[in-house]
C-alpha cells in the first residue's frame, strides 16, 4: 500500500483517475463534478441565518436554493480527502505563506492574507458569472464537450496567465 503514503502521484495517473471518478458521478448521481455552486449556496445559508428567510426572495436563490445538496457534501468531502491524503504522506502542515510567495513577495502573513482574500472575492464573483469553475467547466464541462465550458476554461487560463504574469513579471 505504498502508493497511499506516497507524497505525489504521476499527474497523468491522478488526472486519469479523476476522469474515471466522473464516470461514477454520472452513473450513480447523474451529476458532473463541480465546486463553485456550493459557495453561493453557503453564502445564502449564512445570509438566511443572519437576516431570516426573506433573503430567499433573491432571484439567484430561486435558481440555486441555499441548502445542502450533493455538490455541497462533495465539497466537504474534498477537505476530508485531501486531509487524509496529506496525513498519510506526512505532507500536512499549517502554512500561512506559500514558499514561492515568500521568495518573491515576502513572508508577511497579512499581505498574503489580503491578496488571497481579494483574489478569492474576484474569483468567486467570476465563477458565478461564468456559471462554473475549474472543476465544473474546466473538467466536467469540457469532457461533455459543452461550448460554454470550452469558452470558460480557455478564458480562465487566459485571465489567470495574464494576471499571474502581471503580478510576478511586471509588478515585482
Amino acid at each position: 500500500m505504498d502508493f497511499l503514503t506516497a507524497k505525489q502521484w504521476s499527474p497523468y495517473v491522478a488526472g486519469a483517475l479523476i476522469g474515471a471518478l466522473s464516470w461514477v458521478t454520472f452513473v450513480l448521481s447523474d451529476k458532473p463534478l463541480g465546486c463553485s455552486t456550493a459557495f453561493s449556496r453557503t453564502g445564502g445559508m449564512i445570509e438566511r441565518l443572519l437576516f431570516g428567510s426573506k433573503v430567499l426572495d433573491r432571484p439567484y436563490y430561486k435558481k440555486f436554493a441555499p441548502s445542502i445538496d450533493w455538490e455541497w457534501m462533495m465539497v466537504i468531502g474534498i477537505v476530508i480527502g485531501s486531509f487524509i491524503s496529506s496525513c498519510l504522506s506526512g505532507g500536512f502542515n499549517w502554512l500561512w505563506v506559500p514558499d514561492f510567495w515568500s521568495e518573491t513577495i515576502g513572508n508577511g502573513r497579512t499581505v498574503r492574507w489580503l491578496c488571497a482574500l481579494s483574489g478569492g472575492i474576484i474569483m468567486g464573483f467570476g465563477a458565478r458569472w461564468a456559471g462554473g469553475c475549474t472543476s465544473g467547466h474546466g473538467i466536467s464541462g469540457t469532457l461533455q464537450l459543452a461550448v460554454s465550458s470550452w469558452l470558460a476554461a480557455l478564458s480562465f487560463f487566459v485571465g489567470g496567465i495574464a494576471s499571474a504574469m502581471l503580478i510576478f513579471h511586471v509588478l515585482i
Binding site: I18, P59, W129, Q144, F168
Partner: protein, 185 residues
C-alpha cells in the same frame, strides 16, 4: 439509468461526500493543493495542472460518452453565452492569478493546512459568490445573456454524432499531452 438511486436524496448526500473524499484525495496526490504548483502553471513554469486536467478530460470524455451511448448516463452541459462564459471566465482568471488556488483546490489546500487558502481564499470566494447573488438581477438584464447559445455541445453545434467530435478531440488531447511530455515541461 439508475433513476431511483438519483432521486434518493439521503443516499445522494452520502454519495456526494464519498465522491468528494475521493476527489480531494486525488487532487492532493496530484499535487494541485499546493500554491507553488498552481501558480507555476499560470506562470508557465510547471505543467502539472494541465497534465492532470487534460488526462481527466480525456479519460472522462471517452467514458462518459460511452456510457451515454449505452444509455447509462445523461449529459448535463451548462448553458452559456459570450457575456457569461467569456467575461465571467476572464474575471475568474484574474482572481485565480491573485489567489493562486481555484474553488476546488482552495478547499483541498485548506485540508492540507494551508491557512491562506482557508482564511483568505475560501472566505473570499464566499464573499465574491454572495456579491454576485446581489448583482445578479442587474447583470441578468444586461450582460449575462449577450450572445446566448444555451446548453449547446460541440456535436450539436456541428450537427454530427457525438463520436465524430469525441475521437478527434481525444487525439488532439493525446498529441498535446505528448508534446508537453516531450518538451520536458
Amino acid at each position: 439509468m439508475l433513476s431511483t438511486l438519483h432521486v434518493n436524496k439521503k443516499i445522494q448526500l452520502v454519495l456526494g461526500l464519498i465522491m468528494g473524499i475521493v476527489f480531494g484525495f486525488l487532487l492532493e496526490k496530484g499535487g494541485v493543493t499546493k500554491y507553488d504548483i498552481l501558480i507555476g502553471q499560470l506562470l508557465l513554469r510547471d505543467f502539472t495542472v494541465l497534465k492532470i486536467m487534460l488526462s481527466a478530460v480525456l479519460v472522462g470524455m471517452l467514458g462518459v460518452h460511452f456510457l451515454c451511448s449505452l444509455g447509462m448516463a445523461k449529459l448535463h452541459p451548462k448553458s452559456g453565452s459570450i457575456g457569461s462564459s467569456v467575461i465571467g471566465g476572464l474575471i475568474f482568471g484574474t482572481g485565480f492569478g491573485i489567489l493562486g488556488y481555484c474553488p476546488g483546490t482552495v478547499v483541498a489546500a485548506a485540508g492540507t493546512g494551508a491557512i491562506d487558502a482557508l482564511l483568505g481564499g475560501v472566505v473570499g470566494i464566499l464573499i465574491g459568490a454572495w456579491l454576485f447573488v446581489l448583482a445578479y438581477p442587474k447583470l441578468q438584464e444586461s450582460i449575462l445573456n449577450k450572445m446566448n447559445f444555451g446548453e449547446l455541445t460541440l456535436p450539436e453545434l456541428f450537427k454530427v454524432n457525438r463520436w465524430i467530435v469525441v475521437i478527434p478531440v481525444s487525439i488532439m488531447l493525446i498529441v498535446f499531452l505528448l508534446l508537453i511530455y516531450k518538451a520536458g515541461w
